[in-house]
Assembly symmetry: C2
């Protein structure tokens, strides 16, 4: 573990800006100690200092870097890129590029964060249009990392394999802390012949070279394997991943609404709910979005963590926790080594990336 880890924060990002970001630093320190972790806070100095005072944090932990300029939550990515230079978001990312910080956390405009991160840090993965977003999904067995859940609408076989490499390194750094995560590719069935060309080709590459890439590849998994926690990392294109994630959120809200309705449907049910309340509250925490807040953007030459715009201090604190775990791990080196090895593997076995010609089953 390095003697000091520096995390760069976009203090103006999110629906509330400094009050949540600074309280998030406090929440992180209360929960995780935060020894040896310092912060660079980019944004309005007066507003930030007022919050630091309120939270009892001083300059030895939180260094303020003033800027007046802020990117609005509703600015388009192209606009954010054009006029973003010198903004709190821009400066926060630049601190990673300059080596002043090991990671950046922002609750700001997602499109702007993606575009400016890509511009400043550049992609490390080959051919990705945008950084991949990884979701940490609560399951019956722990947490499964699902990626990509939103940025890359179409992904070829090589990109799916890159997702496997990045997702595995992420899970090892943040959720299994150095263990060897297992990997699956999301498909409509578990037989080798199922699915479209891209997933079958990625499956072939991982089957053949998973060991060479030091990946524990388990094969195809289906939609219901996500919540089961069948594997630690699930790889899919951004279109399918985004729809799976939002479908799951919708179903969770639907069941929660039905449960609320059921538990208030009469005096007996209401009395029962009252008795079971503490247990039900503990259950809710297991699927609380705040507890799993913090989605890293993978595939960049640097660590960027996106917090939900509406996250509270506890949620922002969790995004900081993910950034610290990634910054302190060998994540970037591991991914870079594996991506280089993948390039060699694909060059040496060109047959592997030719289109699969057998008819789909």
């Amino acid at each position: 573990m390095p003697s000091s880890t520096v995390i760069s924060l976009d203090a103006m990002g999110g629906d509330q800006g400094p009050p949540v970001v600074v309280a998030g630093v406090r929440a992180y320190r209360q929960r995780h100690g935060g020894e040896g972790v310092r912060f660079l806070l980019h944004g309005d100095e007066t507003a930030i200092r007022a919050e630091l005072l309120r939270c009892g944090l001083d300059e030895s932990v939180c260094e303020v870097r003033h800027t007046d300029k802020v990117i609005a939550m509703d600015e388009k990515p192209a606009q954010a890129m054009r006029r973003g230079k010198g903004s709190s978001l821009w400066n926060a990312i630049e601190a990673v590029k300059l080596g002043e910080a090991g990671a950046v956390v922002s609750a700001g405009n997602t499109g702007g964060l993606m575009a400016i991160s890509k511009l400043i840090l550049r992609m490390s993965a080959h051919g990705l249009e945008r950084p991949a977003i990884v979701a940490s999904w609560p399951t019956l067995r722990g947490v499964t990392a699902v990626l990509d859940v939103g940025a890359n609408v179409e992904s070829d076989a090589e990109q799916l394999v890159e997702f496997a490499i990045m997702g595995e390194a992420f899970h090892a750094a943040v959720h299994s802390h150095g263990g060897r995560p297992t990997i699956g590719i999301l498909n409509v069935g578990s037989e080798d012949m199922k699915g479209h060309d891209e997933v079958r080709e990625a499956h072939r590459i991982l089957r053949a070279d998973g060991a060479g890439l030091n990946l524990d590849y388990k094969g195809f998994v289906e939609g219901d394997d996500i919540a089961k926690g069948t594997v630690d990392v699930i790889v899919t294109d951004g279109f399918t991943g985004n729809i799976a994630l939002k479908t799951a959120e919708g179903v969770a809200r639907f069941i929660s609404a039905l449960m609320k309705e059921a538990l208030s449907s009469g005096p007996m049910a209401r009395a029962g709910a009252l008795l079971a309340l503490p247990a039900l509250k503990r259950m809710r925490q297991k699927i609380d979005p705040g507890a799993i807040n913090g989605g890293p953007l993978l595939g960049l030459n640097g660590i960027v963590v996106k917090s939900h715009g509406g996250a509270d201090a506890k949620g922002f604190g969790n995004a900081i926790r993910i950034a610290v775990d990634l910054a302190r791990s060998d994540y970037l080196v591991k991914v870079s080594t594996s991506l280089q090895r993948l390039t060699t593997v694909l060059e040496q076995s060109p047959a592997l990336v030719e289109p699969v010609t057998e008819p789909a089953q």
Copy 2:
């Protein structure tokens, strides 16, 4: 409503065969009256007659068509097609082709049912590799039909429009009983520029010609719109649809397991659960797979309804209900007219089916 509706049943299909199929007929009649509905039961005469006697059903309602031959639940589609002739599944479908029955219900081998249905009845929709499967999804506002959920892994724009036509006619016949269902295309965002070429092109066709096809097209919807019930019919390719459906099933089971754990986590919680039990049971019924069992295979020249292999009598009865509603409606005529109109629309405006060339957003 015709004076008599005949439903053809594969009495040997499913995990249990005649006991569930015949009890399913009784369950359907108990729940829906079943006046003017007769059944043709294909399979082992002795076994079927024993069940008819047990259920108090006679020849005026249930006509038995004997055959010794049965397709096993685990036979591959190609094998089922090769040796399927004369089997209970084959004969049940053939009765629809011959005009003896208005619809067929089978809880048998899905792959075999698809392959033999396609062989005997032929596809009505253009270019589909296999019939589309539609899922009836319980939502906050009623039931949303989602298709395709499994058979066609890749779908071009024209096929997505065909799913819209078939899904709308299905919803009108079974869930909104003649109303004008609203339609959405599943995508990663609601803006016109989001998603891949196929969904954007289908969106353009439906935007331009939804009115000409007499469809109430509302635009793109996202994953969480499924359980919200934002629209009545949601169109997607079989890969995404299958993964969304199974992801949702997984999440529902995950929450159900957490709830069970929470409600048995101590004496207070257990007492609360006991009091709230009737309300919780009513809630479970709303998401009970049996209550929503019965997935029609769409795109065929005839009505084929698949029941889950493990469905109980109530579940099989619900699949019969769907088959009866479809057989008594103008579903087949409506779909056939719309598909013809679509062909004309696409021929007259060839520009519409050219690939979209703008960059994806």
